[in-house]
Amino acid sequence: MVTVNPRFAEKLKKFGAKTSTECFNCGTCTAVCPLVEEENLFPRKMIRYIQLGAEEKVKHSVEPWLCYYCGECQQYCPRQANPGELMMALRRYLTSVYDWTGLSRKLYTSKAWEVLSIIVLFFATLGVVALLHGPIVTTHTELETFAPRHIVDPAGWLFGGVLSIILLINIYRMYRLVMTSGEQVKIPWSLYVKEIFTLALHFFTQRRFLDCKSRRTNRWLKHWLLMTGYAVAFILVNALSKWFLTNEFLSVFHPARLLGYYATIAMLYVTTDAIIGRLRKVEPVHQYSHSTDWMFLILLWLTVFTGLLVHVFKYLDLPLPTYYTFALHLAFTVPLLGLEVPFTKWSHLAYRPFALYFMRLKESALQARARRPQTGVTASEIGG
């Protein structure tokens, strides 16, 4: 029995769920959603949980991650309850629930925290650069001399390591919550391995996005561009930093430059497009923007843009501008990754495929149990 809690909806408002009371539970949204399946009905049910204040139910639910915010429901809702945005808000809320540090909640619910965190990380990064940078060669652009790899690389690994640990812990917390909802079933180890394909598939393709019938734009393609652009940049910066962070001037056809261009253009195009979209508010997905959505887009755009500038200045052989923009580039990258990956928006890159993975695990286990012949007879059956 759920005890009704009117304050829960109030609490969720900070996460962007402003319209939950408008919903009168007609179910139109569930009917039109291209992604619902018989076992996972949303968004109406989730909205009802918000209305009831069934916080525990919400915490354990996986449904918000199954929604890709095509906005179909939003266009059909007779009450302008914005079900798609409510699902988005639930994802924000769940992100904060999974996060054990508590920072996620702070970032989502307090603009002051958000801005302060960015500023602190921004200046801290600049400070670290000021302290640790190498010799400044002004006659000629020598980026690697300015940012010696033996310092940058370990710092990068350390930073990445910390973020990954936080995120992994969060994923484990998500796992605990999702797996303890509904029917309980024991999952054999072999299944975890068998279903790893689901995880990889969805991580790399986000193919469920294709089921969304968003007609006007190909959001899957854009999203995929962004994600591959990011992945390429990530690999360049981390694994192949000797190509990226070098004093050498590479030929235009060097793979590092080509890949770098791809990543830059892809990310710049998609973020610019999203910023314009959010300003014009035509697509349902862009109509309602939480402050963290802006934070993400602006930081990403600035990061990519300063990265581009570094490249341009370097190849124009302008030493000082190159070093300064590089410092700025780092100062944007650190809050972007530091705040987004484990605590806010970017964590979905892990939560979405894991949600599907966990769901598959549970479904397969349940199916297997249903197929298994009943062995063992209970005492009461014998007695009866």
Binding site: V2, V4, E22, L52, R79
Partner: protein
């Protein structure tokens, strides 16, 4: 007499007109018999008018289209007009130039001629000392509106209210929901203005603190005795608007929801009163409420209590939720409902209440329990997530109880036919509830017979306002549960019906649904055996009884259905243009071929209101109908006298099909009980059939509505098939 056959609309091409004319001219020796290619034209009608003036024709038979069309063209003053339906029911639904079609046309013409020979022109009934005053019973919103509208239309009204002040239930409302855009604001009903308008109106006499002692008489001449304090007043009125309203369902029966058990469980009415007086407080300690739960359908739509929906509890509760929010915007409001019936513009109100943060729960309330400090917890089944839920403790629980019409309250009576001799078998009789509102001096009981649940209404769709007592029109919540705008519309409509009634009565005409009809039943008293059939079976209580148990007809109460005529075993009740002998002669005019010709005959008695038009529609849609049928329209199946069946069968007709309206709870019979009574009479006919050594299968009754026109060919075919199995009527040729 004159017979006019139209040859237009396919009739000329499909029939042998010479042979048809011969039926009139030779068989029946009709002096004037003419054909015309376009009878409904000015020229065609002119031809008839000429004959009326020149040849002295005063009964005419028009063999052309259905009697349901061109009524204005074939309307000749002081001349009896009988219409033979050659178009819709002969040539349009039977093959052209076919022997059987021709026989059908000729039989139809025979029946028409026989009827024109025997029928007389009705002479309208003239009531004496007619009053056109309208009595309005009840001074609530409906009564006030009805009286004011009556006066506006120029008629005098007499309003009787049992309380000391006018206004009724609506007077207890703090606010009403806005009836203007945006439909979300709370407004004042301005009832005081309405009361003043009535009290200051010269055309309206108001009796407050008064009760109706008795009402005798009939429309146009009701004598009303009103007791006010200790004085008796008399008023003569022409028609009555019954606007006595409803009361809230007795909440003490809702102990399962905590009423009477916990102090802080109250009814919607109590909350309204509290809000009207100022702050909404907890009855237990007078603290202003911080959380309120409304339970809708409290004792409504519930088999144990009121099975129906009272129409206003949802929106009244939404309104009251706004009272709570106005008092304290932070207050939590929980609304438990079965279905949110906030229809039409009330949707905006619902939306507003939602926006203001009230929480809605759809599903059954499982229970209300008191926790500490008089606070209450409600447990319910939330069907929207399929789970049990419970609230946090709330300060106040408000039960939205439904409405019970005052006509439903009182001792139940069944007035039976049984006299001292107790000899007669019973036709189903109606229940009357002695609610002490009208106190009619009617043989059939002192109040109007209610619909199910006790509402004073007669037909749920076709005839709103009409009760089953002619001249008494119900309006407002005594008729059906309704909200304020509907009540105002209802009262206006009922006032208009009452005015129509007094005017029609003064002209000697029937009221709805036979508004043009000037005929009325006449009783040949010498042969009456005082069996009381007619007094019991008249669906409208038109027939009283004198001290010697003789029926005492009241023509202005009569709706001219003919049910009494059908009921009378002595066949002494007849109308000038519709009687047992007239129909008997018509059916005897049908030519029944010999058995070896293998042309069976099926007589169809078709109710004029639905079945007959449905047959017309079948023709209009060119459906093909069995050629064996011969159709006689009847005013209502209730007017069917069993002797017709005996006559038809002894004449050799193979089967009789009765087409009437649906009866039972959701009846569609235009005279309420007619088709039910016909059905009842049929159940008694087996005896007659046995006497004639005939099979009961030869008589069948089918309920049809006008929309069943496409099923009619099948219904008839099926019956013909059954008759074929049974074999020809052995009485053929006798």
């Amino acid at each position: 007499m004159g017979v006019y056959i139209c040859t237009g609309c396919d009739i000329g091409e499909s029939l042998d007109l010479e042979a048809l004319s011969k039926v009139a001219a030779s068989e029946y020796k009709v002096p004037v018999c003419k054909t015309h290619p376009f009878l409904c034209s000015a020229e065609g009608a002119g031809l008839i008018k000429q004959d009326i003036a020149g040849e002295g024709v005063n009964a005419i038979v028009i063999a052309a289209c259905s009697p349901r069309v061109n009524t204005d063209v074939f309307d000749f003053p002081d001349v009896f007009v009988e219409r033979v339906n050659l178009r819709e029911q002969v040539v349009w639904c039977h093959p052209a130039n076919d022997e059987d079609t021709q026989m059908l046309a000729e039989d139809s013409l025979r029946m028409g001629i026989v009827k024109a020979q025997q029928a007389e022109l009705p002479v309208p009934f003239q009531a004496e000392d007619i009053s056109k005053t309208i009595l309005v019973v009840g001074g609530g919103l409906a009564g006030l509106t009805a009286a004011a509208e009556t006066a506006k239309a120029g008629y005098r009204a007499v309003l009787v209210e049992k309380k000391e002040t006018l206004g009724g239930w609506a007077a207890g409302l703090k606010n009403v929901v806005g009836l203007q855009p945006p439909y979300t604001e709370l407004e004042d009903l301005n009832l005081a203005d309405r009361v003043r308008e009535v009290e200051e109106n010269e055309k309206i006499t108001v009796y407050k603190n008064a009760q109706i002692e008795k009402i005798a008489g009939a429309p146009g001449m009701f004598d009303v005795q009103i007791r006010q304090n200790d004085n008796l007043y008399s008023e003569r009125v022409g028609a009555i608007v019954l606007a006595a309203g409803a009361v809230a369902y007795d909440a003490t029966k809702l102990e399962n929801l905590g009423f009477g058990k916990y102090t802080n469980v109250i009814t919607g009415e109590q909350l309204e009163e509290m809000a009207g007086q100022g702050a909404i407080k907890r009855p237990s300690d007078g603290k202003p409420v911080e959380s309120v739960a409304f339970i809708l359908c409290a004792g409504s739509r519930d088999k144990e209590h009121l099975p129906y929906c009272s129409a206003i509890c949802c929106t009244e509760s939404l309104k009251q939720a706004l009272y709570v929010k106005q008092q304290n915007p932070e207050a939590s409001v929980y609304i438990f409902y079965k279905d949110m019936r906030a229809t039409g513009n009330y949707e905006f109100l619902y939306q507003r209440v939602q926006k203001e943060g009230a929480l809605f729960f759809r599903g059954d309330v499982l229970g209300v329990a008191e926790v500490a400090d008089g606070q209450l917890v409600i447990a319910a089944e939330d069907v929207l997530v399929g789970e049990g839920i419970k609230t946090e403790p709330v300060d106040l629980v408000v039960l939205a109880t439904g409405m019970v019409p005052v006509t439903a309250i009182g001792e139940k009576l069944v007035i039976k036919a049984e006299d001292d001799k107790g000899a007669q078998e019973e036709a189903p009789a109606d229940e009357i509830i002695r609610s002490n509102i009208l106190n009619l001096e009617y043989r059939q009981g002192p109040e109007v017979p209610p619909l199910k649940y006790g509402f004073a209404d007669s037909h749920f769709i076709c005839f709103p306002y009409e009760t089953r007592r002619t001249g008494i029109y119900a309006a407002g919540s005594v008729r059906a549960p309704m909200d304020i705008p509907a009540t105002i519309r209802d009262a206006t409509g009922a006032a208009l019906k009452a005015i129509q009634c007094v005017e029609l009565t003064a002209a000697g005409s029937a009221v709805h649904p036979r508004v043009w009809d000037l005929s009325f039943p006449e009783f040949f008293m010498q042969r009456c055996t005082q069996c009381k059939r007619c007094t019991v079976e008249c669906p409208f209580g038109a027939i009283n009884e004198d001290e010697k148990f003789n029926p005492l007809p009241n023509p202005t109460r009569c709706r001219r259905c003919g049910t009494c005529m059908g009921s009378c075993p002595e066949r002494i009740i007849s109308f000038k243009n519709y009687s047992v002998p007239i129909i008997g002669s018509m059916l005897k005019a049908i030519e029944v071929p010999e058995e070896d010709e293998e042309k069976p005959r099926i007589l169809v008695f078709a109710c004029e209101n639905d079945a007959y038009p449905a047959l017309d529609m079948a023709g209009l849609n060119r459906l093909s109908i069995s050629p064996w049928v011969r159709v006689i329209p009847v005013r209502c199946l209730g007017s069917m006298n069993l002797v017709w069946i005996a006559d038809a069968l002894s004449k050799g007709i193979d089967g009789i099909l009765l087409l009437g309206c649906k009866h039972g709870d959701d009846y569609q019979c235009h005279f309420i009980k007619g088709s039910e009574l016909a059905n009842y009479r049929l159940s008694k006919i087996s005896e007659t059939l046995n006497r004639l050594a005939l099979e009961a299968d030869r008589v069948r009754m089918v309920q049809v509505s006008i929309m069943d026109y496409d099923k009619l060919p099948g219904i008839i075919e099926e019956f013909a098939g059954r008759l074929e199995e049974v074999g020809p009527n052995p009485y053929k040729g006798f």
